[in-house]
């Protein structure tokens, strides 16, 4: 009879074999799919929260102004005194105007033509129309301008502006022609002619809008300041700010208008002298080259 091995455990307790090795390795970690799933899930929640926040914080488009009120806004904008304009000079405007060479662009009346291509949804066009209207008002008169705002769903939503769709311009010095290709909802509005398209292809290889051609002497694409500067403002507030000395809107809008005025003065052989002979415009004309 073999002797029994001494058993550990309580005295008198039934003997049980000692486990020197675990039967099964204990589960010590997380399944491989948990981490990626958790990270992607958390990220999806964060993005959803951003979208909801964006939805609830995007302001509704402001209601366009009545024609009389629109005229008041344009008068305020165009009423920036020449002395202030001289003080501002280029202001904070980004000079995007480049000299170009081509057959002189003339309008239906045979005068040199400024050609604008843009769209109502486009926030950069919305920003650039303010100084463009101010600059062109120094040489002539707009009628039929209406207020609108850029797309609610694009970058810099609801930027207050005007539309050139349906507007006319008269001047003894030059012609102005504008094509607004789409409305603020992205619906087709006006179609550029094949000559317009050729012009854009020639001088605006990136196809950016707004595109402005000054009689084929100068051209530029894009906005000279950020539409962010007009965010949340009413049309009258923008016009008032542009007329207020020292405001960032004055520096951007009047500065951009001065640059475009200098380009137009080059087209019109510095006519009228009341506009083109100003020291600021003369200095900017030299800068344009």
């Amino acid at each position: 009879m073999a002797a029994k091995r001494p058993q550990p455990g309580r005295k008198g307790a039934p003997a049980s074999p000692r486990r020197t090795q675990p039967m099964r390795k204990p589960v010590s970690g997380t399944p491989a799919w948990v981490v990626p799933t958790a990270v992607v899930g958390a990220l999806a929640v964060i993005i959803a929260a951003f979208l909801v926040y964006r939805y609830y914080t995007t302001p509704l488009p402001p209601k366009p102004l009545a024609p009389d009120t629109t005229l008041t806004v344009i008068s305020t904008l165009a009423g920036v005194p020449a002395a202030r304009s001289d003080t501002v000079g280029q202001g904070s405007a980004d000079n995007r105007i480049k000299p170009v060479s081509g057959a002189t662009l003339t309008g239906s009346s045979g005068k040199p033509e400024v050609f604008y291509l843009g769209a109502e949804y486009c926030p950069y066009c919305a920003a650039q129309r303010w100084p463009l209207i101010l600059a062109m008002s120094r040489f002539g008169t707009f009628s039929g301008l209406h207020t609108t705002s850029s797309s609610s769903t694009d970058v810099f939503p609801n930027t207050p502006t005007f539309t050139f769709h349906g507007a006319t311009y008269t001047s003894q010095y030059l012609d102005f022609r504008a094509v607004e290709t789409e409305d603020r909802a992205g619906n087709a509005l006006e179609t550029p002619t094949s000559q317009d398209q050729a012009l854009v292809r020639q001088y605006d290889s990136s196809g950016s809008i707004p595109f402005v051609d000054f009689g084929n002497r100068y051209a530029f694409a894009g906005a000279m300041y950020s539409p962010d500067l007009l965010a949340g403002m009413s049309w009258q507030a923008v016009a008032d700010a542009a007329a207020q000395s020292g405001s960032p809107q004055e520096a951007a809008i009047v500065g951009s208008a001065n640059l475009m005025t200098a380009a137009v003065c080059r087209m019109t052989a510095d006519q009228p002298s009341t506009v083109c002979a100003s020291p600021a415009i003369q200095a900017l004309e030299k800068k344009l080259g």
Binding site: V27, G29, T30, P31, V35, I47, L51, T153, D154
Partner: protein, 137 residues
């Protein structure tokens, strides 16, 4: 897993170099344009450059992915996880800018963000103890 992070880091360098080159060359970006997707709107916004400089944000991307490549070539402790966490927090901030501030998304930026996400997941997965194959949780 490490190879995935390494490949994502190198791909991130390539994407960031492309965006930087396009910025300085002033040529159009290969990117669809619409209301929801608009690379040009994002990259030409004030957030397209590092604050108070004219340096495009993509340069920061080149630096981040380059350091990430080095960290995955010679991984040391929790450094890859720390670095990828920094990247992931930055990505969340940039996505916030795109969605909330700008209301539009840049496809190329999203590709770079996805690569950071991949790297972060790899780093996090490596740092969490894994269950054995066939084990139950």
């Amino acid at each position: 897993m490490r190879l995935i992070a390494l490949a994502a880091s190198v791909a991130g360098i390539a994407v960031s170099i492309y965006l930087t080159a396009v910025h300085f060359a002033g040529v159009p970006l290969a990117c669809p344009t619409g209301a929801a997707v608009n690379c040009e709107a994002v990259l030409s916004s004030p957030y397209g450059v590092i604050a108070a400089t004219s340096v495009p944000t993509s340069v920061a991307g080149i630096v981040w992915f380059a350091i990430s490549t080095i960290l995955w070539l010679w991984p040391r402790g929790r450094l890859p996880l720390l670095w990828s966490t920094v990247g992931m927090v930055t990505v969340i901030y940039l996505v916030f800018i795109e969605i909330v501030r700008l209301g539009t998304v840049c496809v190329w930026c999203s590709v770079a963000h996805f690569l950071v996400l991949v790297i972060f997941i790899v780093a996090l997965t490596r740092s969490v103890p894994q269950a054995d194959a066939g084990g139950t949780a």
